[in-house]
């Protein structure tokens, strides 16, 4: 869940007054936000946002906007939005899209923001927005990348084209000499970081003006000249590019509203496509494309457990900043410009819940009668646990992930049945354990100073490859126990095993077992009704040496699911 640094001064100025912590604790949840930290004297509040479908809230202004609407009921207007039926005037401001980008990164939303001077604080807000919108929501710029350039240096129209990576050269931001786009990918830090998004294509996206001067190389880096925005600038060109049109239009809308709230005048730009889009070949951005959501109020009442009138429903939905019309027994909800998270009428139901206030809903205790029970595997496990405790064993509980070194190499097995992770974070956790024995031996290796004898057990899960299963794997509920002592031997674990089976009303059949983990001639396989359920024996000194264990050990491992006769 994203965390943002909210500029205290800007935040309270937008809200109209200063709020204390107790008040924020009541107000922030209406935007699904919570105050993480408010360090004294730093001028920022650290706030965590919990709704991953509301990127409009991930900036000081976006959050302040939502809370302000909730408090005052006043919905801001953003008259610079175009609709399919009513596009805004754009004068000379046009972006022409090259058809070569269709399979690369075809969509762009853009606008000009003017009338205010860029300050350091403003730049910080813009950068944080960009980070959250493009880094977080835009999946590290893969689906949304934003560029900000100096509009006063642009000769219209701007072209958004698929450029030759080797022949196209410009001076990127923070550097001093011209480089080809491909060079930027290998030599510029942003090139190394974001280059992989476009590196595999034959041509790379490029925004340049009417004279051929480069604005930006989406999603990588601005140019040093037109792309080099500085404090004092008063006219900016903002572009957002990506592979999905609705996502870009939403990102563009959010950014435009934030700029408007900052006091800028937003001037729309006409984006001309050489192919069809759901909204035509020319889209004037910022563009309102969102569809209405129709909600039957009776349905909402059922879901909320509370009867509502249509007017009550409408008022609550409006309080959240949405447009609402009443139509008989239904309400028709138009999302605000900066939101596109209404997928189903239930999304409007949640708006009612928050709009009315959580505390207006009183809890009703569950009334349906249902029979509760623990699972059969759990029941069986408890029987086994009780017997093992009675045999003097201390129960342990272990992690299920381990390293190849511990799970396979130290055990002297080939590990061919073990499940490996293809993207481990570290080598310490690159496999799922196929046996409890390594976990028990790890305990023993760590516990040489604990008073002997050691008797330990675990009832837990192991997983192995199994071609018979749809998933090619099988998870088993397993019992493993280990005895470490001067005289730890086959006889003792045999006695314990037989006692266990007796009290589980099972008759085990032992047969000699050849297994590299055990001393030859001192290991047995255990079968019940012909089915292999487990193994036991004295641990081979080679295995003990591999673990650094200097006390003889004997161990047993049993598949409880097979013994139970279950799955």
């Amino acid at each position: 869940m994203p965390k943002i640094d909210v500029n205290e001064e800007l935040f309270f100025r937008t809200l109209g007054r200063r709020f204390e912590k107790e008040e924020l604790d009541v107000l922030l949840p209406t935007a699904k936000a919570e105050l993480d930290d408010w360090p004294k004297g730093e001028g920022i509040l650290r706030i965590e946002l919990n709704d991953t479908n509301r990127p409009d809230l991930w900036s000081t202004l976006g959050l302040a906007r939502q809370l302000s609407i909730y408090l005052t009921g006043k919905i801001p207007s953003y008259p610079f939005f175009s609709r399919a039926s009513a596009p805004q005037k754009t004068q000379e401001r046009r972006v022409v899209v090259d058809k070569g980008l269709k399979d690369i990164r075809p969509y762009i939303g853009s606008f000009v923001a003017e009338g205010r001077e860029v300050t350091d604080a403003l730049l910080r807000e813009i950068i944080q927005s960009q980070e959250k919108l493009c880094g977080n929501f835009g999946r590290k710029r893969k689906t949304i990348a934003m560029g900000v350039s100096r509009a006063d240096l642009i000769t219209w129209p701007v072209s958004y084209s698929a450029a030759d990576p080797d022949k196209t050269e410009f001076i990127p931001l923070d550097f001093h000499k011209p480089m080809s786009m491909r060079q930027i990918l290998s030599e510029h830090p942003k090139g190394k970081e974001y280059g992989p998004i476009v590196a595999s294509y034959a041509r790379f996206p490029l925004l340049a003006d009417g004279k051929g001067e480069v604005l930006t190389f989406p999603p990588v880096i601005n140019s040093a000249l037109i792309g080099g925005v500085k404090p004092g600038d008063t006219r900016l060109f903002i572009d957002l590019t990506g592979p999905d049109l609705d996502t870009i239009l939403t990102a563009c809308a959010i950014t435009a509203c934030d700029f408007a709230d900052m006091g800028f005048r937003v001037l729309p730009v006409a984006v001309e496509y050489p192919f069809d889009t759901p909204y035509g070949r020319t889209i004037v951005t910022p563009f309102y494309f969102q569809k209405d959501t129709v909600l039957e109020v009776a349905e909402a009442g059922r879901r909320l457990g509370e009867d509502l009138t249509v007017e009550q429903a409408a008022a609550s939905i409006r309080r959240m900043g949405n447009g609402v019309r009443v139509d008989g027994t239904r309400v028709i909800v138009s999302p605000p410009e900066y939101r596109n998270d209404f997928l189903h009428p239930v999304d409007a139901v949640e708006e009612i819940m928050i709009g009315r206030g959580m505390d207006t809903f009183t809890p009703i205790m569950p009334r349906d009668f249902t029979v509760g029970r623990i699972s059969e595997a759990e029941e069986y496990g408890r029987r086994v646990r009780e017997i093992m405790i009675g045999l003097g064993y201390q129960e342990m509980i272990y992690g299920y992930l381990g390293s190849r070194r511990d799970l396979v190499e130290r055990m002297g097995t080939d590990g061919s049945d073990a499940i490996e992770i293809s993207n481990p974070m570290t080598e310490s956790f690159n496999m799922v354990r196929n046996s409890i024995l390594p976990s028990l031996l790890m305990s023993e290796a760590e516990s040489a100073h604990a008073t002997y004898p050691h008797r330990i057990f675990e009832i837990g899960k192991t997983a192995v490859k199994d071609p018979a299963d749809n998933s090619g794997t099988r998870t088993d509920n397993t019992l493993g126990f280990l005895l470490a002592d001067r005289e730890a031997g086959f006889n003792e674990v045999d006695a314990h095993t037989l006692a266990l089976f007796y009290y589980l009303s099972l008759e085990p059949k032992l047969a000699p077992l050849d297994d590299p983990r055990f001393i030859p001639g001192r290991a047995a396989s255990i079968r019940v009704n012909g089915r292999l359920v487990g193994i036991m024996g004295e641990i081979h000194p080679q295995v003990l040496a591999a673990w650094g264990i200097e006390m003889p050990c004997a161990a047993v491992e049993l598949r409880l699911d097979f013994m139970r006769g279950g799955e």
Partner: protein
């Protein structure tokens, strides 16, 4: 101590000390060994107990010189000194050269040489014309007394080091001749200086001694009652000494459950008692059940390679059950019949079969839906895996407690009631606070915060009503609640554990000593 301990709780060793000495005597472990025939261990132990009880008190530390038996000394005690073995060999075999003696006895030549030197000085052996050692006339008899004395000393020293001050003059000379400081190899004794504390009797000792005399105690009272005493009736005339019940007993190794496992078992029992049925499943799941069936779009950032562990081999499940697969796919693409817009992208049928380690308990909730009873309540305490940095508050391999509730009565208010029930029954909390929440697969969603008796306010968990895009493609017509609780904080508090990694510690000693408060 306000009152002196009753003399009735004294060990026989202590009793004998109090009875034997006078109040003005000074005692040490050495005197106890000499006067009462204690071994060194008994002597030290009785003085330590008496001191702890306040009957004696340390008055000074004398440095005493001790002769400790060396390993070589022990060997000679067993096999005989070199001198005696040489003499006995010559007595039976006649004269032999020194190298021959060395070979026959398995002794180094130089040791034979020096032994011979000493023995010839003592007129036990002589060197004959052929350079052979031979018994001098009366040599064996000359040796006997010295060897006998040495044997006695060795024997005593093997039990406890010899205190120089306790040796007779002749014994002292003999021991000294056979000792080198700091135990140089080849000497029978090692000269050691040790501090031996001396004790005087305190004022209450005399009273205790008098009490003992009055009660007729001798220090010979019986310890354990034996089956033999019962058989013969000897118990009738025996006096059983009273035990000091304050002495800490030996630690018992026992079989026992693990406190975290016990916590989880109790949690399961509590949930079962509230009408919930347990579910569980395999560790390896498909993206279909772990995410797609929960209406999380395949391009959602939470489903990146950075959050979930992928299985190396096999990479994909063979198939996903129909009709669920097709209905869920259609729902993602265009909403299908659920009334939703859907996500509007092309559903990837290969990605959906991709095998991963399950990352959330909700995967089992999704799998349960097609087979769930209505009304129904289900729960699972489920081991999950996330690609995450491991530290004091995060694990990559951890439990989630999750479940679902199905029925016509499911709505926001019964959802709040459910959370209140959990707060009261599972967390013993009286105060709850509801806050709008967010899960990708529920709408509306609510978090519950509780005021815990010792932890204060924290988020206990959350719940939401499954989106129709989740339930309808899986054949469910009634509303369904999904809920989850975070219980690890409470588990850790109840066990006094501060680092979440310790819940799964491998250390046997740590687990042995951990207990529920």
């Amino acid at each position: 101590m306000d009152q002196p301990p009753g003399s009735r709780e004294l060990h026989p060793l202590e009793v004998k000390v109090l009875l034997h000495y006078r109040p003005e005597d000074t005692v040490s472990s050495t005197t106890l060994v000499a006067d009462l025939g204690y071994n060194l261990g008994q002597a030290n132990q009785s003085l330590s107990w008496l001191a702890a009880k306040g009957f004696v008190q340390e008055s000074s530390r004398a440095t005493s010189v001790l002769y400790e038996i060396t390993d070589f000394g022990r060997e000679c005690l067993k096999k005989g000194t070199y001198e005696r073995r040489i003499v006995e060999l010559l007595a039976s075999e006649g004269a032999l050269t020194l190298p021959e003696i060395a070979k026959r006895l398995g002794i180094e030549q130089k040791d034979v040489g020096s032994a011979f030197g000493g023995l010839s000085k003592d007129k036990v052996l002589v060197m004959d014309a052929e350079k052979r050692a031979a018994l001098a006339p009366g040599g064996k008899e000359a040796l006997a007394p010295k060897q006998a004395a040495l044997q006695t000393l060795l024997s005593r020293a093997s039990e406890a080091p010899l205190e120089e001050s306790a040796l007779a003059l002749g014994e002292k000379e003999l021991a000294a001749s056979q000792a080198k400081k700091r135990g140089a190899a080849g000497s029978l004794f090692r000269l050691v200086e040790r501090e031996v504390p001396a004790f005087v009797f305190t004022s209450i000792a005399a009273g205790a001694a008098a009490e003992l005399k009055k009660s007729g105690a001798t220090g010979d009272e019986a310890g354990a009652l034996t089956p033999e005493m019962l058989k013969t009736g000897a118990w009738k005339t025996a006096q059983f000494r009273r035990y000091n019940i304050d002495v800490p007993p030996t630690r018992v190794p026992l079989g026992r459950g693990n406190p975290y496992c016990t916590f989880l078992a109790r949690l399961k029992d509590k949930l079962a008692s509230l009408g919930f049925e347990e579910f569980d499943g395999p560790l390896v799941e498909t993206e279909f059940w772990n995410g797609d069936a929960l209406f999380m779009p395949q391009f959602h950032s939470a489903r990146d390679i950075h959050d979930v562990y992928y299985v190396k081999e096999p990479t994909h499940a063979k198939s996903i059950e129909k009709p669920w697969r097709d209905q869920v796919a259609a729902t993602h693409e265009n909403g299908w019949k659920t009334g939703s817009r859907g996500w509007g992208y092309k559903f990837d049928h290969d990605f959906t079969r991709r095998l991963i380690l399950r990352s959330q308990g909700t995967v089992l909730s999704a799998k349960q839906l097609p087979h769930a009873k209505v009304p129904g309540k289900y729960f699972g305490v489920v081991r999950c895996f996330r690609y995450d940095r491991v530290d004091a508050t995060h694990l990559a391999d951890f439990y989630q407690t999750e479940g679902i509730v199905l029925g016509e009565e499911v709505n926001l208010r019964t959802l709040l009631g459910l959370l209140k029930m959990f707060a009261e029954e599972v967390a013993m909390a009286k105060e709850v606070k509801y806050v709008p929440g967010f899960f990708p697969f529920t709408e509306p969603s609510v978090e519950v915060h509780i005021r815990h008796p010792s932890l204060g306010w924290f988020e206990l968990g959350g719940s939401g009503i499954f989106r129709p895009e989740v339930t309808e493609p899986l054949g469910i017509k009634v509303p369904v609640l999904a809920w989850g609780l975070g219980i690890d904080r409470m588990a850790m508090t109840s066990m006094g554990v501060h680092d979440i990694r310790d819940l799964f510690t491998s250390s046997i000693e740590d687990v042995r000593s951990r207990r529920i408060r």
